[in-house]
């Protein structure tokens, strides 16, 4: 049986950030939640993953949850491709 789970990188990253948003959404203040998601991504995700996630903002079909979307928009300033190059 071949494995049938999706491993499209974009989908994986979107699923991950949505999961983070859901788990961090316990704080009462939404701005605080968005900050928390942002900080989590900054602290734990590789540069290439953040750049890729930010690039998903340009896709119409990216199913980011509302809080995740806000956090990724905040990240975009720093991680849109070219804003912080990965050294090649």
């Amino acid at each position: 049986m071949s494995h049938n789970l999706s491993h499209n990188q974009d989908d994986t990253l979107i699923r991950m950030v949505n999961q983070i948003a859901t788990n961090l959404s316990g704080a009462s203040d939404e701005a605080q939640v968005v900050q928390g998601i942002c900080k989590h991504l900054e602290s734990f995700w590789a540069r290439s993953m953040k750049q890729r996630l930010v690039a998903c903002l340009d896709r119409d079909d990216a199913e980011l949850s509302p809080l995740a979307q806000r956090a990724v928009v905040e990240l975009a300033g720093r991680y849109r491709n070219g804003a912080q190059d990965s050294a090649q």
């Binding site: 494995h3 994986t12 602290s43 540069r47």
Partner: protein, 959 residues
């Protein structure tokens, strides 16, 4: 002969255990003034004063028993001849240990023993290490007046069923040391004395052999035996060892100290070291006996390379292999960028070796793509405890459990996975501590003999957070909080926010019963016990971390401990039971992609600056890829090369087919291991590793204890692992020039504040050190957070229960959970190459009788287990340990494919895989799964590639 045998611990047996601290008592023994703590036995007091009283049934690992009468003494003003082992000291006592009368008494006692004991000392396996022989000499036994004509035990039937030791009852003196060791030290109660008087004999139960009995082969009885009645087969074969080296076990996270008893460079036996601060002279079947893998013919002894994985291996020199690897890495980076390669450090290798691998990645590869197997076990512990308590480690010593009054065990199975600590916990439970187990399975701890009070919360897999929230809800709403602790030690705003959150009725046990399946009243009772019955201590394992909410659960545990003030002193705390020998150390040493050694974040300019100055390079300030991210990137084609030291990701990581696809996508996989493991079958460069017996270094156990690993034999392939990493760095143009692992530790200490006071000299002087060890804590830190937290105030965290996406359905109606068993270790690479195979030579699927019945499954049937990720086939074992609807297996054998079925669901914060929850269907089948058939073909092909290379070079190794 006796001088020939010189293991250190046999030199110092004080006869009876050290009593609890008591006021000093002075007395006179043979005219010498002696002062010892109250409660000390005369036998121990004499021994401490250098006066050795003959003894047989007494040993300082067991309570005094007073049966052999050999330690009889005379006390002025008292009648008779009291046994020194059972007589406590009294102020002003005058004790005589040697005189004519006592000598005669002892000779008579010995004469009776010897009258029913074979006189074959010269050919006896214990010759040179026999307390009976020593005592016969000590009492001056010169004749035995009673012959062997009468009834005796000389022809008693021997039992050789256990693979590691023999039982020869003809040598037995019925001192009960073995029986008492099994009860007091191990806590299994497998042995007993059958019969009375002359008929008394040691028994493992009616008509049973040792192998068929409840015996768990911990070796405590063998160690306690004063004769050769219970004797290691390795000693029977090789004779007495002639020197010993103290080192640290390379199996689980308990980190037991052992004496490796040697004959030249041959390891004859491993004996648990009484001076070991983690194990105090106890051991389990793995550490004690399962060391044969180190000299197994499967060991890799020559470096090998190949262009692609469908080609045979080519044996090459070390230099050629290292050059080949370095050239490939450089070429890949030139073509695909600096971030296209990475490395995985080993939780089985030493701290020094782990440190070097992450240094290689950060300094020589020039990126932070380093990770370790903690990713798949305790990464949520790192995240959860750092967020709430400020440090990524357990708070206590193992010994702390002896001060605990309520022991809450969540998702851990200590008697199988951490057996030596499990024995200590059982001792505390026999003393009366209350046990609460939160686990889907009825683990063996709940069957502890003489358990006083136990509660089982059999929750559904995947509902941990709902349960911990319910426990905290009871604490808060029933007024069981420790307000003084919270006010003084915790952040008020975070506490208030958490208190508002947890007080909501949706977290009540009554509301969460529908989620967890645990009776609400049982949850209330457990919360009250934990919060109010003295010291409450929490122990947890992978049943907590390996979930989509692993990190939330760790934070929930920390919340509960803070709310009840169960932090910062002996007997309480939050205690992750770490899986592998050095998984704590591998995390401490900077293996994670976001943290430099000592959990210093890569974005911390001050910390990074220190490393940059010491290492002479600029370091990336962004985290690198974690293992699952590396796999995804490999499949996508942006990640091309991986250096893996001492890990078997192809077997241990979830969703095997995804891992296989990732490994097959790599252009260069460098595997450094002692065997051709599953990952190595996908490699292009194979670098032979060294076992823990072949190198110097340190391991850090689950209680943050840094223990020395000492070389007892030369590396089989000529190089210790740290030397190989160093040569690879040099070949990449990055200088590393360490001459000994102690120099690596010196560098670690200079860059890692929590290790600042650690050095080999300090470890030599103190035996072990628990970090933080620095100017403030020069002798280390047994208990964390006594005064404050590293982040100042403890931070309560909001832990909303979010159900996992992995749910049962009509198609997949059962939940699979995975775990370990006592005799095998992790992927089994080591234990499968020992006689531990006798106990577990295949992984099976345990299922409840009702689930079996509806599927027409009988014990031993072949079962196809299908999940959304894949299918495998295992044999059925019907077991009432399981709840209906939950099935269980282990992952010790690669062909079992346990991880073919586990999915790539993972913890939200750390990507730790959700091994513990997989929805599956089970049905009877007649042949292996398609994956197993492919695995079998690939395995055969790769073994052939290895054998061909070895034959070409003339270094044939058995298949």
């Amino acid at each position: 002969m006796i001088e020939h045998f010189d293991p250190r611990q046999h030199a110092q047996d004080l006869g009876t255990p050290e009593p609890p601290q008591g006021p000093p008592v002075s007395l006179e023994i043979d005219g010498i003034n002696v002062t010892v703590p109250a409660g000390t036995s005369l036998l121990r007091a004499a021994s401490l004063a250098g006066i050795q009283i003959p003894k047989l049934c007494a040993t300082d690992s067991l309570d005094a028993y007073g049966s052999c009468r050999l330690c009889a003494v005379q006390v002025t003003g008292k009648r008779g001849y009291p046994a020194a082992c059972t007589t406590p000291v009294e102020a002003g006592m005058q004790v005589t240990t040697q005189n004519e009368r006592l000598a005669k008494l002892r000779r008579n006692v010995m004469e009776l023993y010897i009258s029913d004991h074979p006189l074959d000392c010269l050919t006896c396996p214990a010759n040179g290490d026999c307390e009976l022989q020593d005592m016969a000499g000590a009492v001056g036994l010169r004749e035995v007046r009673y012959g062997f004509e009468g009834e005796n035990h000389l022809q008693a039937e021997q039992d050789h069923s256990n693979p590691y030791f023999s039982f020869d009852p003809s040598k037995c003196i019925v001192c009960s040391r073995c029986v008492r060791a099994c009860e007091e030290v191990q806590g299994t109660f497998a042995l007993t004395i059958d019969g009375r008087g002359f008929d008394s004999k040691v028994s493992v139960g009616p008509e049973q052999s040792f192998l068929a009995s409840d015996c768990v082969s911990c070796g405590a009885c063998v160690q306690a035996c004063p004769t050769s009645t219970l004797m290691e087969k390795s000693v029977i074969e090789a004779g007495q060892p002639e020197h010993s080296v103290i080192t640290t076990c390379a199996y689980c996270g308990v980190g037991c100290s052992f004496e490796a008893q040697m004959k030249g460079d041959q390891l004859v036996r491993m004996v648990p070291y009484k001076g070991g601060d983690a194990n105090h002279g106890h051991s389990c079947v793995k550490g004690r006996f399962a060391f044969g893998y180190a000299t197994h013919p499967d060991r890799l002894t020559s470096p090998m390379v190949r262009e692609s994985i469908d080609q045979p291996w080519r044996q090459v020199s070390w230099q050629e292999a290292i050059e080949f690897a370095a050239q490939r890495l450089k070429a890949i980076q030139a073509k695909h960028g600096r971030e296209s390669i990475g490395g995985i450090t080993s939780s089985r290798c030493t701290n020094e070796e782990t440190y070097l691998v992450q240094k290689l990645v950060r300094a020589a590869f020039g990126n932070n793509n380093t990770d370790t197997c903690a990713r798949v076990c305790h990464s949520p512990t790192g995240y959860g405890l750092k967020t709430t308590l400020g440090e990524s480690a357990g708070t206590q010593t193992f010994d702390s459990v002896m001060q605990a009054d309520t022991i809450l065990v969540i998702g851990a199975n200590p008697t199988d996975a951490h057996p030596v600590f499990g024995s200590m916990m059982r001792r505390r439970l026999r003393e009366g501590a209350t046990l609460i187990v939160a686990d889907p399975r009825r683990i063996d701890l709940l069957k502890t003999p003489h358990l006083q009070a136990a509660q089982h919360l059999p929750l559904r897999p995947g509902t941990n957070v709902a349960l911990i929230n319910a426990l905290a809800h009871v604490v808060v709403t029933e007024g069981l909080e420790d307000h003084e602790f919270i006010a003084k030690r915790c952040d008020t705003a975070a506490y208030q926010a958490w208190r508002d959150f947890i007080s909501d009725s949706r977290h009540s046990p009554e509301a969460s019963e529908a989620i967890t399946g645990v009776d609400a009243e049982a949850v209330r009772r457990a919360a009250r016990s934990y919060a109010t019955v003295g010291n409450g201590a929490i122990y947890y394992g992978l049943g907590v971390t390996e979930h989509s909410q692993g990190s939330s659960m760790v934070m929930g545990i920390a919340n509960l401990a803070m709310a009840t003030g169960n932090i910062g002193r002996e007997g309480v705390g939050v205690n992750p039971l770490r899986g592998q020998n050095n998984v704590q150390g591998s995390c401490d040493m900077g293996s994670f992609p976001h943290e430099l050694p000592g959990y210093q974040h890569v974005s911390n300019a001050e910390a990074r600056g220190r490393f940059e100055a010491a290492w002479g390079v600029d370091l990336d300030d962004e985290p690198g890829l974690r293992i699952p991210n590396m796999f995804d990137a490999a499949i996508e084609g942006t990640f091309k090369a991986l250096y893996v030291q001492g890990e078997d990701i192809a077997q241990s990581d979830p969703n095997t087919q995804h891992v296989e696809a990732a490994l097959s996508s790599l252009e260069c996989l460098i595997v450094q291991d002692i065997f051709l493991n599953e990952t190595a079958k996908y490699a292009h460069v194979l670098l032979p590793g060294s076992s823990f017996l072949e190198k110097d270094g340190t391991f850090t156990n689950a209680e943050r204890r840094i223990n020395r690993v000492r070389q007892v034999m030369p590396p089989l392939a000529d190089k210790a692992d740290w030397e190989v990493t160093q040569e690879l760095a040099q070949a990449l143009g990055y200088p590393m020039n360490y001459r000994h692992p102690s120099e690596i530790m010196d560098e670690i200490a200079s860059l890692t504040p929590s290790f600042a006071g650690v050095s080999y000299a300090r470890l030599e002087a103190l035996g072990s050190l628990q970090w933080p060890c620095n100017v403030e804590h020069p002798n280390g830190t047994p208990t964390m957070h006594e005064v404050d937290f590293p982040i100042g105030l403890g931070r309560f965290a909001i832990t909303e229960y979010i159900a996992t996406e992995e749910r049962t359905s009509r198609r997949f109606p059962l939940l699979l959970t995975t775990g370990r068993i006592l005799s095998q270790y992790n992927v089994g690479a080591q234990t499968r190459r020992t006689d531990n195979q006798h106990w577990h030579d295949e992984d099976v699927l345990e299922l409840h009788p009702s689930d079996a019945e509806v599927r027409g499954v009988r014990d031993g049937d072949w079962l196809g287990i299908t999940s959304r990720a894949g299918q495998t086939v295992l044999r059925a074992r019907i077991s009432e340990r399981m709840q209906p609807g939950v099935v269980y297996t282990t992952f010790h054998h690669p062909g079992s494919g346990a991880n073919v079925i586990t999915t790539d669901n993972s913890d939200w914060a750390t990507n730790c895989p959700e091994y513990k929850v997989t929805a599956v269907q089970v049905e009877k089948v007649s042949q292996p799964s398609a994956w197993q058939q492919r695995f079998s073909d690939f395995d055969r092909q790769q073994r052939h590639h290895l054998a061909s290379a070895q034959q070409v070079s003339g270094k044939a190794i058995s298949p």
